[in-house]
């Protein structure tokens, strides 16, 4: 395990990690020198206790590891899906955008692969055991006969996957409340999934696959043919913090579509489990 890399990753989301771990950088160096000599198996424990000291709030709790593994289970599927997609998707259906679309899917694949690695490293560092990939059914139990050969199907699955992933993260964000490292990392990943979703929606619009779609989720997107049934259930919500956003404070231009678009809604784990089960994803 490359724990120097883990620290580098964490430093990206928490620039003060070294100060937190030990205000004396010299002492950090000592730690690395010592740990070169200790058995590899004991390193996760050493790092876990180091983190506990640094953040002082039991950062390696079972609840946190469970949230990280939940994300990892979905990211495994996303990484596998896009890895296959870069090679097998029929980008020629995007016509003049074929090369650009392939480049976009390659960027997205690289992000998902990096998310898998980040979550695996972080879970190990926190003293947990990362979940392994499952055996996936990319047809979604036959709903998509040719998930890669049919470019429309491919982008439908991609959009559903991105939106479901980011909504799943919202559903468990509360369990990471107050965690500067874990919550911030989860939010940083979550925002990237939203960028992916917007991009895939723009690709579908450009390819002429949907004429009602926008880069944001409007109501429950029910006018748009999409992945499976119920993927956007709850997204039509226009009540935030107990107040209807439609026409809020006399802003009469705020209609129901815009009021729903302005907020992406969380999905609970039970719903995510149900939605992804057809693809063989076990969360």
């Amino acid at each position: 395990m490359d724990f120097l890399n883990i620290l580098n990753e964490i430093e990206k989301v928490d620039t003060t990690v070294y100060d937190r771990l030990n205000p004396r950088r010299a002492a950090m160096k000592d730690f690395f020198n010592v740990s070169k000599k200790v058995a590899v198996a004991s390193v996760p424990f050493a790092i876990g206790s180091m983190f506990k000291k640094a953040y002082g709030q039991g950062t390696a709790s079972a609840a946190i590891i469970s949230v990280l593994n939940y994300s990892l289970a979905i990211e495994h599927f996303a990484a596998a899906f896009y890895t296959r997609g870069v090679t097998n998707a029929d980008f020629s259906e995007a016509k003049t955008n074929a090369a650009a679309d392939k480049a976009a899917i390659t960027i997205i694949r690289d992000h998902e692969v990096a998310h898998v690695k980040f979550l695996q490293d972080t879970i190990k560092a926190a003293g947990g055991t990362p979940v392994t990939p499952a055996t996936y059914d990319f047809t979604g139990k036959g709903e998509f006969a040719t998930p890669f050969g049919n470019y429309r199907s491919f982008l439908q699955i991609a959009q559903g996957l991105e939106d479901t992933t980011l909504r799943a993260t919202k559903g468990v964000a509360g369990e990471l409340a107050g965690q500067s490292v874990y919550l911030t990392a989860a939010l940083n990943i979550h925002a990237v999934e939203a960028r992916h979703s917007a991009k895939i929606r723009l690709m579908r619009i450009a390819a002429g696959f949907s004429k009602t779609l926008q880069p944001w989720i409007s109501l429950n997107d029910e006018t748009d043919a999409r992945l499976g049934e119920g993927y956007y259930a709850g997204e039509q919500n226009v009540t935030q913090n107990g107040v209807s956003v439609v026409g809020i404070n006399n802003n009469s231009a705020l209609d129901a579509p815009r009021a729903s678009e302005a907020f992406d809604e969380p999905l609970l784990k039970a719903d995510v489990t149900k939605l992804l089960a057809d693809f063989g994803v076990i969360v």
């Binding site: 990206k12 944001w216 302005a262």
Partner: protein
């Protein structure tokens, strides 16, 4: 399966432009009176007639007065509220005085974004209640609103900044409800950022701001404030923000 069939039908009408599609979407919603959405939309339409005074604006803060964010969750909410005020004011200026040659699709999407930012601003204001700061005064004199490039470059900077601000402030909330609210907002800001970036340059949806590790940017409030200060005329005391 029904969806797939429905899409096949759509595909046969593929030659229509995206603009028509978007107009169709709006009119579809107008006539979908049976659904909750339609009812809500009509309610919104009615309130327009009953609303001769327009939006309820918060009292404008006098320029010589120092704005205080308050403490704890209120400080974090006011921080977000100030940023949403900035974004809403910017897009309002964009759509009320658009650059020459703006396309109907661009105007439509930018109006959507403007209304999303107003929704964020108002929901945060209501959440803060009596603890909300007043209306801030902005200085957009450095932006040439007649130039598409200048407007989109600023929009990109604001959206990327907004994403990093919410990402960096999430853990500061004590209330899980407010954290949840911020999480609902930040992904929409990220959608805006991706859309604006694609309008500037194809496939730049995650460029620069997303690391090779696939992580978006997070910024501390002090880092965000150093960037937005030049657009805000008011004096603001940010020292009470949780560190």
């Amino acid at each position: 399966m029904n969806n797939l069939k429905q899409e096949d039908k759509e595909i046969s009408q593929k030659s229509e432009s995206i603009l028509n599609a978007r107009l169709r979407r709006r009119s579809f919603l107008q006539y979908a009176g049976a659904g909750a959405a339609g009812v809500a939309l009509m309610a919104a339409g009615c309130s327009k007639d009953k609303d001769p005074v327009g939006p309820e604006e918060p009292p404008v803060v006098p320029i010589d007065e120092t704005v205080s964010f308050g403490t704890g969750d209120n400080a974090v909410l006011n921080y977000a509220y100030a940023l949403e005020q900035l974004e809403a004011a910017f897009y309002t200026k964009v759509v009320t005085s658009p650059w020459a040659g703006i396309t109907a699709t661009e105007k439509d999407y930018l109006t959507d974004i403007q209304l999303h930012e107003i929704a964020h601003r108002e929901v945060l204001r209501n959440a803060l209640g009596g603890n909300a700061i007043g209306g801030l005064t902005f200085d957009f004199s450095s932006i040439d609103f007649t130039k598409r490039d200048a407007v989109l470059a600023t929009a990109m900077a604001f959206e990327d900044l907004g994403v990093s601000a919410y990402n960096g402030a999430g853990y500061l909330f004590s209330s899980k409800d407010y954290l949840g609210l911020a999480a609902k907002i930040v992904s929409v800001e990220a959608r805006h950022a991706a859309f604006i970036r694609e309008a500037i340059k194809p496939n730049s949806f995650a460029e620069v701001v997303v690391s090779t590790a696939g992580m978006d940017t997070s910024r501390k409030p002090s880092e965000v404030w150093a960037i937005v200060a030049k657009y805000i005329t008011n004096k603001i005391n940010t020292s009470t923000l949780p560190a």
